[in-house]
Symmetry: C2
Subunit: 202 residues, 2 copies
């Protein structure tokens, strides 16, 4: 098998891997039905997929690349809410769930490709297949646990502890992304991030 | 009907109201099954129901009173993650979902009474009744939307905007609770909160 074929096969596997994490006894027939609603999609680095005021109409599954949800503050600074890499879903979730206008941006931090499903197809699957609803329920439970943790890091940790915790739990985020984006995720200036990096590596 | 009876009847109604918000076509038979697993419970103001290191074993439905989840920082200050009043559920949710030890405290800010269900009964209902799973899925979706909003207030608003937003969206929280707790929810000092209150009312 060529390297290109191996890579394609690995990418095809990712959605299956994601789903079986939440539904280990997924059947081939179920996967065929569920995955048939996901269509290929790609976008260049810096593409903005959702902007404040728009209603999220797609759920994106990332096969390669990196996406993030962020806000632009009155002073022009960015505040990053989350960053997701290949193998994970991304959208402006509140808007996707409620059909209300988004308040955040969703963009591609790197060139991205993957699969996407429309809101209508997604909630059609949720309403039609209790087993798909179970996948969604378990995935959103894990999203909830993650968001509770994110709130804990914001309200219960100083910048240094927040950085050290990120370094321990998600080092790829720090290694792979620019200081500008990592700082906006940690809620600190780039200068503070540089100082933290210098001190930690001493 | 006496006032006491009216109040009791109103409290009995609360769980039904909560559930039908997420499953409007709930049948009487379903409600009888689901509610039979909820048992009466009460605790005095300042009771701590879950502490860091413990695994959450109950989901609490508040019929009267106020509960909150909070952390104690290294300097002894409290950081409040959420505050819920009557008509809502409360627990240390990450621990309840994952069965891992809690990192937060759950306490009663006021004398509380209500209903509670064990983790085993709760997830037994989720696994046995797809319609109960639907209620849970929809409730957790709304919890997710709330937590995304909470993160937005923390990373995208200064203290003044955060206070004004709380005053607009949940004024009862400010009116009913002590400055100590409101300040710990907003992530500011009590002095800053007093200044904000004084300036806004001008």
């Amino acid at each position: 098998m060529s390297t290109l074929q191996s890579r394609t096969s690995l990418m095809d596997q990712q959605l299956h891997t994601f789903i079986t994490r939440f539904l280990p006894d997924l059947t081939e027939e179920e996967y065929a039905v569920f995955s048939s609603f996901f269509k290929p999609w790609k976008a260049k680095k810096k593409s903005i997929l959702i902007s404040p005021g728009e209603v999220a109409s797609y759920m994106y599954f990332i096969q390669s690349g990196c996406m993030r949800a962020f806000y632009i503050q009155d002073n022009g600074n960015e505040a990053t809410r989350y960053i997701n890499f290949e193998g994970n879903f991304a959208t402006s979730l509140s808007s996707f769930i409620t059909a209300r206008p988004a308040t955040d941006f969703l963009d591609c931090v790197e060139d991205c490709q993957g699969l996407r499903i429309t809101k209508e197809d997604f909630f059609g699957l949720v309403d039609t297949y209790p087993r798909f609803e179970k996948i969604y329920r378990r995935a959103i439970e894990m999203g909830m646990v993650h968001n509770i943790w994110r709130i804990e890091t914001l309200i219960n940790m100083d910048a240094k502890t927040r950085y050290e915790t990120l370094l321990k739990t998600n080092p790829v985020l720090i290694q792979r992304l620019s200081n500008r984006i990592v700082a906006s995720y940690l809620g600190i200036t780039q200068e503070s991030l540089s100082r933290l990096k210098a001190n930690i590596s001493l």
